[in-house]
Symmetry: C2
Subunit: 455 residues, 2 copies
């Protein structure tokens, strides 16, 4: 028997707790501010949007937060997810590195997103909520919440960025198969949407606008709450199930990462795999280099400002301190829709200011090249978002080769690309370019950041 290709955990080893890194941070997270008063928001401010349990998790400081049994029951449909040793990739690269990847594409919706979608649907159901409104860009999040809604028999309304709604009818079909309603955004259903359509009837939409619409519906309808697929603390918390499993699986492999790589859009898959290992380090355990890979066309961590900003375009959300390109920033239409967000999770931003993580920006062509190389040796066809993590891991492995050092590299393969084949077709047809954002637009968006008095 040769060495294993993948490390599996029995369902009995599914984590019982999520890990909350807030408990181990040397400096606490800056508070979330009310945009009118600039005072820290309290639970009451968030109650129109979220159930109390999630608000408490958003502000929690205890290290372990129990995963409710019904959530674990559903996780067991696909979790624990496999940890792979990428032996064929190592061979193809001729690297002495030991490359591992956690594969989250085994979830029914095809990415890590159901880890939080199921939890959010559960807490809302418990609180008596009947409907959840949300937004989606590429569609990974929308289909994950649709999946979770079908299991808890809840109505899910997804505002899908219009250009994606038109370009990705199959993602929409997946949401509808799960029983959700999918609305092209901007829509006539909300004041935010109507105002935008009045000015520009053919507006292609944006994630910021879709968030505004979903939040508006949640605020106005007493039977409806809001859910977000990334950025917020409780979302990142739910994703730590990924890293917790990886810790146990690497123990089976008798290994420990020197380097962890993840792609970052809102930051949740990255934080999910990295935080449990960073927690080990913060509690005096073995240190680990953690690298966030972001798209060069939407580089919040590497080119944004660390400042208080809104999460949406219509400025309906509270202010959070984060690396941001400005809430009016519109990234070019590159093919990793899940990474096209103007801000970065406040928690990930905070880790960056504490020098606990590094950040690197890649253009899309080299990421697709890495994804195709990966598919041809490992078999799995990755999502365009995940290609960023693969590129980062390959570059680290090639550095190991140059330096003649065998490091252990762990990355998060956050989803498959079965619904993203148009991107691969465009890549092979030579239609993809390394788009850059408009520097003057970035300058303008940053100039428009709200001026918040020092707290």
């Amino acid at each position: 028997m040769t060495e294993p290709t993948k490390y599996l955990l029995d369902e009995s080893r599914l984590p019982k707790y999520w890990y909350n890194i807030a408990a181990d941070l040397p400096v606490p997270l800056p508070p979330v501010l009310h945009p009118g008063t600039y005072q820290p928001v309290g639970p009451a401010d968030l109650e129109p949007l979220f159930p109390l349990a999630l608000i408490q998790q958003e502000m929690a400081t205890e290290r372990e937060i129990e995963i409710p049994t019904p959530v674990r029951e559903i996780y067991r449909l696909w979790r624990p997810s496999p940890l792979y040793r990428a032996r064929r990739l190592e061979q193809a690269l001729g690297t002495p590195a030991r490359i591992y990847y956690k594969y989250e594409g085994v979830s029914p919706a095809g990415s890590h997103k159901p880890n939080t979608a199921v939890a959010q649907a559960f807490y809302n159901k418990e609180a008596g909520v009947k409907r959840i409104a949300t937004e989606t860009g590429a569609g990974q999040w929308g289909s994950s919440l649709a999946f979770a809604g079908s299991l808890f028999d809840m109505e899910i309304q997804v505002f899908m960025v219009r250009v994606s709604y038109q370009q990705k009818p199959y993602r929409r079909a997946l949401m509808e198969t799960y029983g959700a309603t999918c609305t092209a955004s901007p829509s006539m259903e909300t004041a935010a949407g109507r105002a935008i359509l009045a000015k520009r009837p053919e507006h292609p939409g944006s994630l910021g606008i879709a968030i505004s619409e979903a939040v508006e519906v949640a605020v106005q309808r007493s039977d409806t709450h809001y859910a977000l697929g990334s950025v917020l603390n409780h979302v990142l918390l739910h994703q730590t199930v990924v890293g917790l499993e990886a810790l146990a699986q690497l123990e089976l492999a008798d290994d420990y990462p020197d380097v962890i790589v993840g792609c970052t859009g809102g930051g949740s898959n990255f934080a999910g795999i990295a935080c449990p290992f960073l927690g080990e380090q913060l509690r005096g355990g073995r240190p680990v280099r953690v690298i966030a890979i972001e798209p060069a066309a939407c580089p919040s961590l590497t080119r944004g400002q660390y400042a208080y900003d809104f999460g949406d375009t219509a400025h309906l959300t509270p202010l959070t301190k984060m690396y941001t390109l400005g809430s009016s920033f519109t990234p070019p239409g590159f093919h990793a829709g899940g990474l096209r967000y103007h801000g970065m999770a406040p928690l990930v931003s905070h880790l960056k200011t504490l020098n606990l993580i590094e950040a690197r920006a890649y253009h899309q062509l080299s990421c697709f090249e890495a994804g195709v190389q990966f598919a041809r040796v490992e078999g799995i066809l990755p999502a365009p978002e995940a290609n960023h993590a693969i590129r980062g891991a390959i570059d680290e492995a090639l550095r190991c080769k140059e330096e003649g050092i065998s490091r252990c590299i762990l990355f998060n393969l956050c989803g498959h690309g079965h619904f993203d084949m148009q991107a691969y077709m465009d890549y092979f047809a030579g239609k993809l370019t390394d788009q850059s954002y408009d520097e003057s637009e970035l300058a303008m968006a940053l100039a428009g950041l709200p001026s918040v008095p020092a707290v």
Copy 2:
């Protein structure tokens, strides 16, 4: 800890042998005949198409055939595949039945097809073959062989039925990502294709024509062999890894099937799950009811004749005895492309004549209904082909409810539907109908069966 949702096997428990039911059959399979002489074909007749190792497997009578180590190494990228207990489906149906399903959609190409694609690519590579030509309808088989080719660094040429080539660009993109060449069939590359295009330049193609083209290329080019994704004995043999794993997993669950359900097009996923259990029965073990579900629009087992027939339209293949609708039969364009074949695997046909299996035909609407119900409770979005097996399993489970009997039902969920979303969109849009074949066309196709002198 509640009862497990899925039963996993460690890689060390990956089967070391495929199971060959020929060793346990009470009556041997009828011989394959040469269409010119009506004499049984020998290895030499098949050598232009297949490597010797596969020809030997095609005719083998030993019970266990060793899975080569390099094939097992690749199987380990996704195997052993999970066996699920469909607890949520049981609940939704309110049935006392215990429903299990083996999930083959975890393979990189998304179905059971890589089980044989990898083996076939391996034996061809060993024999020094550089290129393999094949056909594909829905695209599951073509993408599986493309995947296998990428791992063994072989050139794969896929003749894809033209109408699918146009309707399913994403399947094509998947094959191209794995490095394969995909050609719309009928094509100008072969005499068979040119003859058809000369008569009808816009011919939509058929599986039978695409087989003719691939066989022609293999016969004419000394560096090229042919590969088939179903029907043949060696293909069904490779698929027994599915049933062998299921046997071990049900042992973990301390259960044994009363009923096994599979969908049948060419017959390979069905034989793969059923044969190891039928083998137990044939060797004096516990009997099991085995039900083949086929599409009512292409009902070879329930409406075909058991007769010698060609496997392709241009009559380049040998004659095999099977349930057939006639090689000129063209089924209507329903949405389970993998089940649109005029014949049934000779081995599956033989099992039917021996009364070892039953057959049932379903129309597509009730199958899609079952697939959507399944997705909403179990999460996985099934391929349209697999929906037939789900419909069969649900009907058996509802019978258990009526009769108040708790039977153990096992079915093969042979693939996911991520590349079949157009079918779901059409279903929700009310565009699907329960198409029937043309009775007079069937009569004509059956009248055209070759008349073979009794052997």
